[in-house]
Every structure is written in structure tokens, then in C-alpha cells.
Amino acid sequence: MTNAVLNGWLIFGYLACGVLSLVAIVSTQPGSKMRRGVLGFLIALWVIHTGSIILRWLESHQLGIGHAPLSNLYESLVFFAWALALALIAAWFRFKADILLVVGIPFVFIIMASTSLLNHEIEPLIPALQSNWLIAHVISCFLGYAGFAVSFVAAILLVLATSSESFGQYLPGSRLLDDICYRSILVGYPMLTIGIITGAAWADYAWGSYWSWDPKETWSLITWMVYSAFLHARLARGWSGTRTAYFSIAGFGAVLFTYFGVNYLPGLHSYF
């Protein structure tokens, strides 16, 4: 049972969990046994997911090229799905909003499914990537992205809830959605900041300059600036509701471009 096979099973697991969460939210009341079952299923999948990442790490050591499984697009997508599942579970315990799972789990499924298109062989680490800064940088960045993803989901729901009444009655109150949108950014933002700092420390340590305005670095800074503007609009100008929701959506657009789009621009960081 290699990690790749396990990841394959996880894809179906998350799909099933997503479908079940939809059925649960439509056909049962909050707090029902089925809804608790869906949450348990998600937690179980996440535990297996953790196992698969650890298994890949062990396998890389057996091949004599041991390194943390965070060095190429396949491994970072698997980790991103793991971080997003973790963020959804944490958000559920903090806010008890089942709708987050219904909309969030499909995202985890899509990310995991996309890994099946990539070559899942364990490759040796080129010298530039052999550094502890790499682990800290990738982990903090993706925990940050996971927080922003949860905020994005809440923001989308908030915009839907306020724009169409018919859809709104399924959703939790806009005050709760607004709170989720803000609090998950409050958690994601320090993580992204630490991600940028560790990335700069790694670049300084390995290539001699902490900042060279490489497109990937620049886009993570752009994402950081958007979320800084969000925090100030909220904290110091008292913005809330759909105005901040659009900010969060714009921010997540920057996150997606930082992660995917930028690889089509020339630069240091391309995974391909």
C-alpha cells in the first residue's frame, strides 16, 4: 500500500463525504446523528490523509532520498488538501456551521482529484531545496491558504445569503458568516506572514538575497497586502458584511494566482 494508492482512496472518500454532507444538510436537522456522522467521516479521512503524508515521507527515506513530502506540485497539493480539511474541521468546532463542510469538502475533493493527473513518483531533492526553511515555509504558507479558503467559502455564502432571499433561508445568519470570514483570515494572515518570512529566510540562506521580486514572491506579497487591507478595513474602519466579503474573495483570487497562475510566469519558483 503506497501513499499514492492511499491518496487514490482518499479522493473517493472525500467525494463520498461531500455528497453525504449535502444529503445530511438537506434531509436532517442540525445536530442530527447523520450530520455528526459526516463530521466523523471527515475526521477519519483527515487522519488517513495524515497517515498517507507520513507514509510518503517514510517511503522517501527507504529510497535513500529522504525529504519532507513538500517539494513538488503533487506533494504540495496533497498537503494543501490536508490543511484545508484540517481548517474545515477546526472551523466546524469553532462555529458549528454545517454548511461550511457542504461547500468546503468539494474543494478538498477537487484538490485531491487534481493530484491524480500528476506524476506521483518520489523524486530526489535538488540541493537548493534541501533546507529546514523549506518545510517551515511550505507548511505555514499552506496553513495560511487553508484559512483563507475557509474565509472564501464563508464570503461566498455571505454574498449569496444577502443577494437572494430564497437561498438565504438555508444559510446561517449573515452575522455568523461574517464572523467566520473575519476570524479565519485572522488565523490565516499570521500564517501567511510567517510563510513569507520563512520563504525570505530560505532564499537569503540559499541564494544570498531574501527578496528578489520573483513573481512567486511578489504574488504572495500581493496576497498579503490585500489581506492587510482587509484587516484594516475591518478593524480600524469598522467594515463588515458583504463589503469585507468581496475583499476576502479578491484575496482568495490572489491566493489562487500565487499558487497556480504564477507558474506560467517566468521565475524561480515554477514547480513544473
Binding site: 529510497l63 535513500g64 532520498i65 523524486e123 530526489p124 535538488i126 540541493p127 537548493a128 534541501q130 533546507s131 485572522l186 488565523v187 499570521p190 506572514t193 510567517i194 518570512i197 525570505a200 529566510a201 537569503d204 540562506y205 540559499a206 541564494w207 544570498g208 538575497s209 531574501y210 527578496w211 521580486w213 513573481p215 511578489t218 504574488w219 506579497l221 500581493i222 497586502m225 490585500v226 492587510s228 487591507a229 484594516h232 478595513a233 478593524l235 480600524a236 474602519r237 469598522g238 490572489a254 504564477v262 510566469l265 517566468p266
Partner: protein, 460 residues
């Protein structure tokens, strides 16, 4: 939302322009505008190729002139980008200056603002109530209260996690210091690259942007370059480790000996030497094998430019050329052998050709040791320490704002006849409801009163 951060608007019309400018610089609106402008500028910087001088996009003179004026090919060091950054720095400083007095006042507890207030009456004496309340409130507020006599009433005040108040200044000072570090780096820092052959020394390097040649304050002698590859995975020669063993010399005297590896630079006198890349520039030695007809074999090593005596034969061999495999004969060498009084002959020893005969030996090709030149990157950035100090401040500021919660609580006990009037008030920066509930529960238990009598509108 803390009310301290509300803008003080509605200043009178006749106020001086200076006050308006100050007002602008201390407004968070400016921060948001600056952050968005900087973000948009950075986006443009990733679309337009940076560094290349000509505007490949279009031929119209207007656009090329525009690109020149706005430095669109080096946006991140352009005059207007640095101007925006300095505006942000000024905005940061102004904000800090405006809020520092408030933070100090709050630190000293001069701020009596409260988000909830209850007044109650109890028959126990102030001193009895004091001891009872102090012990009961310890789990929530930790530590014992400060006491103050105010006329005939006793005033107890608690404070928890004042360090929360440092969160905001740390975050914003951190950003200022990072911006300063960045400025210092762009003004005085430089990056260069130098290439040194194994066995040679060098001190000149080429600046990255201006291609100008500069001299290091010391000489770098490269004794050996080693390239380690991942053999075990059989995926071909994927580089695992590059390593340059160097000696640094000042005026011919060795001042440092070190190995520079990828991710493990050598820093000397503020200058850092990084292992960047390498090239093969020649041959260090060639290994051949001499096989005798009765099965014994000997290793035979040839070094370029050195004649080597072929054992048990009158011949002396010399390396002429090495072919890394450009012909069907495969990898191999041409060597020249001559002996006393006979004509020198040329012999080819190739992997995919029949091994040649010389005297009693059959010669076959084993391998060769390449001679490398190592590419070292030179880095000097006086701003880096500032950036790390700023980042540390920024992270500790986050820690404080996320994991501590500044709370204050006051109790005023005023004896009236045989009763004591109690006034409870308090505020908490975060999780206000939980704080009020915990106080209400304790009061309920201690004073046997369920709810508060008058509750202020809780602040935001």
C-alpha cells in the same frame, strides 16, 4: 472594534492645512489606499518583464517613452514605487505616534472606560467583601488587586495581560523596521557572481545588474570542487550536493578555510559567498587499465601535461585529447607513446572500440576526473539584520494580539450605614461576552445575586 481606533472626525473647518495633512497621515483610509496601490503596482511588475530594457510589447514611441519615465522595467526600484513605500512608512509612523499616548494611558490604567457596570448592595463589610472577592476572582483575573482609598470607599482594580497592548506597536514597528532594512539593502547592498577554476584563486566579481567588475577585500582560492550525484535512484546523474573547498587569503596569508555548499554559505567580513553553479572546464586525470595476457591487470593514471612511464615497458605515455563520447567509438582518449630512439605513435583507447595492444599490455579505458570551475554568488546586504529584527517584532506582535486578552476589572466598596454599596465595572479587549459571563457567575455565587442591575451597552 476598539473605540480607540475610531477616527476623530468632525474637526472644525478653520483648522490649518498642516493639521489636515497630519489627519490624512494618521488615517487608516490612507493605509488601505496605499496597500491597494502597492498591490496593483506589484501586479504590473509581474506582467511586464522586469530587468529587460526594451519594451517588447509594442512599437509605439509613446508607450516606450511611458515605460522609460515610469521605469516600467524596474518597477520595484522605480522612483514612484519607492515614493509609495515611503508614504506607507510615514503613514505607519504617524499612526504609531497618534496611538502611543493612548496605549501608554491604557497601560497605566488611566483609562476608566468600561464595557459593563453593575451596582449592588450587600450587608457584609467592605473588608470582608474584599477578601472574599479577591480569592473568588483569582481564577479569572489571576493575581491580587491594587487597592486605593477614595474618600471613604475602597477601590480594587485588577489588570490581566497588559502585554496585549504591545501587540499593535510591535506589529507596526516591525513593518517600519522591515521597510528601513529594505531601503538600506537597495541603497548599499549588492549581488555579484564570480567563476573560479579548481586550483586557481580569484578576487574579481561581476555585479549582477550593472555587469560592473568589482574586487573583493580578500582572495578566494578554490582547492577542490566536488559534485555528488544521486546514484542510488538510477535516475541518471541528478545533482545531490555541490561543494567548493576554498581558502580565503588576505595579502597571501590564509585567513579562512571552509567548504561552501548549497544552502551553507561562507560569510566573511559581512560578505557572503554562496555555491551557485559549476561548469566542466577540463580534465584532471584519466584512469586506464593495463591487462596482461596472463590475467594480471594494473591501474594506469594519466594527468594532462605529464608524461607517465608505462610499467615493464620502455614506453612513456602522454595524454593528447579526451572525447566525452561524440563518436560511435564512445568515450575515450588519444594518447601518445614514445620510447628511446623510436618514432612516437598515437594510440586511441575508446570504450566502444577494441582495446589496443602496447607491448605486453592490453589498454582499456576506465574513466576520467573532470576539472571544474565553480560559480560563487557574492551577497552583501547591510539591511538584512534589520529585516530579521522587524520580522521578529511582527511575529511577536501577532502572538500578543492573538493569544493574549487585555482585561481590566474594578470594584468600588462604599460603606453606607450597616450596608456596603458595591459598584463593579470592567472591560475586555476580546471575547467580551465570555469575560462578562464569568464575572456574573462568580458574583452570583459570592453575593447570591443572579443578574446585574444596570448593564452598559456592551462596546461592539
Amino acid at each position: 472594534m476598539s473605540d480607540a481606533s475610531r477616527e476623530i472626525t468632525g474637526t472644525s473647518e478653520s483648522e490649518s492645512v498642516f493639521a489636515q495633512i497630519i489627519g490624512l497621515f494618521t488615517s487608516v483610509r490612507m493605509t488601505i489606499v496605499l496597500l491597494i496601490l502597492l498591490a496593483l503596482a506589484s501586479v504590473v511588475g509581474t506582467v511586464i518583464p522586469q530587468g529587460s530594457s526594451q519594451w517588447t510589447g509594442s512599437t509605439s514611441p509613446f508607450l516606450t517613452r511611458l515605460a522609460l519615465i515610469l521605469d516600467l522595467h524596474s518597477i520595484y526600484s522605480s522612483w514612484w514605487f519607492i515614493f509609495l513605500l515611503s508614504l506607507l512608512a510615514a503613514n505607519l509612523v504617524a499612526c504609531l505616534m497618534k496611538r502611543i499616548p493612548m496605549i501608554i494611558a491604557e497601560w497605566r490604567g488611566e483609562q476608566q472606560r468600561a464595557s459593563f457596570k453593575w451596582s449592588l448592595v450587600d450587608e457584609r463589610s467592605p473588608s470582608a467583601l474584599k477578601d472574599l472577592l479577591t480569592s473568588e476572582l483569582r481564577p479569572i483575573l489571576g493575581g491580587s488587586p491594587a487597592e486605593a482609598k477614595d474618600g471613604n470607599s475602597l477601590r480594587l482594580s485588577w489588570v490581566k495581560h497588559r502585554s496585549y497592548l504591545l501587540g499593535f506597536p510591535f506589529i507596526h514597528c516591525g513593518i517600519i523596521i522591515i521597510l528601513l532594512g529594505g531601503l538600506l539593502g537597495t541603497l548599499y547592498g549588492f549581488r555579484g557572481h564570480m567563476v573560479i577554476k579548481e586550483g586557481e584563486a580569484g578576487e574579481n566579481f561581476v555585479l549582477q545588474d550593472s555587469r560592473e567588475v568589482r574586487r573583493l577585500p580578500f582572495q578566494v582560492a578554490v582547492d577542490k570542487f566536488t559534485l555528488e550525484t544521486y546514484e542510488s535512484t538510477g535516475r541518471g546523474k541528478r545533482p545531490k550536493e555541490y561543494r567548493s573547498d576554498v581558502r580565503l587569503l588576505e595579502g597571501g596569508k590564509v585567513v579562512a578555510i571552509a567548504a561552501i555548499r548549497v544552502n551553507h554559505p561562507l560569510t566573511f567580513k559581512g560578505l557572503s559567498l554562496y555555491q551557485a553553479d559549476y561548469q566542466v572546464v577540463g580534465v584532471k586525470s584519466v584512469e586506464l587499465k593495463l591487462a596482461d595476457s596472463d590475467g594480471t591487470s594494473r591501474d594506469f593514471k594519466l594527468i594532462p601535461g605529464q608524461a607517465e612511464k608505462v610499467p615493464d615497458t620502455p614506453y612513456v605515455a602522454r595524454l593528447v585529447s579526451l572525447d566525452p563520447g561524440t563518436t560511435p567509438k564512445g568515450v575515450g582518449v588519444d594518447i601518445q607513446v614514445d620510447a628511446e630512439g623510436s618514432q612516437p605513435q598515437r594510440i586511441g583507447v575508446f570504450t566502444k572500440a577494441a582495446p589496443p595492444k602496447l607491448d605486453k599490455w592490453q589498454i582499456s579505458y576506465v574513466g576520467y576526473q573532470p576539472r571544474y570551475s565553480t560559480g560563487l554568488q557574492i551577497g552583501y546586504d547591510p539591511g538584512t539584520p534589520l529585516v530579521w529584527v522587524g520580522s521578529l517584532l511582527l511575529c511577536s506582535g501577532f502572538f500578543l494580539t492573538l493569544f493574549t486578552n487585555h482585561r481590566r476589572f474594578w470594584i468600588e466598596l462604599t460603606p453606607k450605614g450597616d450596608e456596603t454599596h458595591i459598584v463593579l465595572s470592567g472591560r475586555s479587549r476580546r471575547s467580551r461576552r465570555e469575560f462578562r459571563e464569568s464575572i456574573k457567575a462568580t458574583m452570583g455565587k459570592v453575593l447570591g445575586r443572579s443578574g446585574p442591575d444596570t448593564e452598559l451597552r456592551s462596546e461592539g
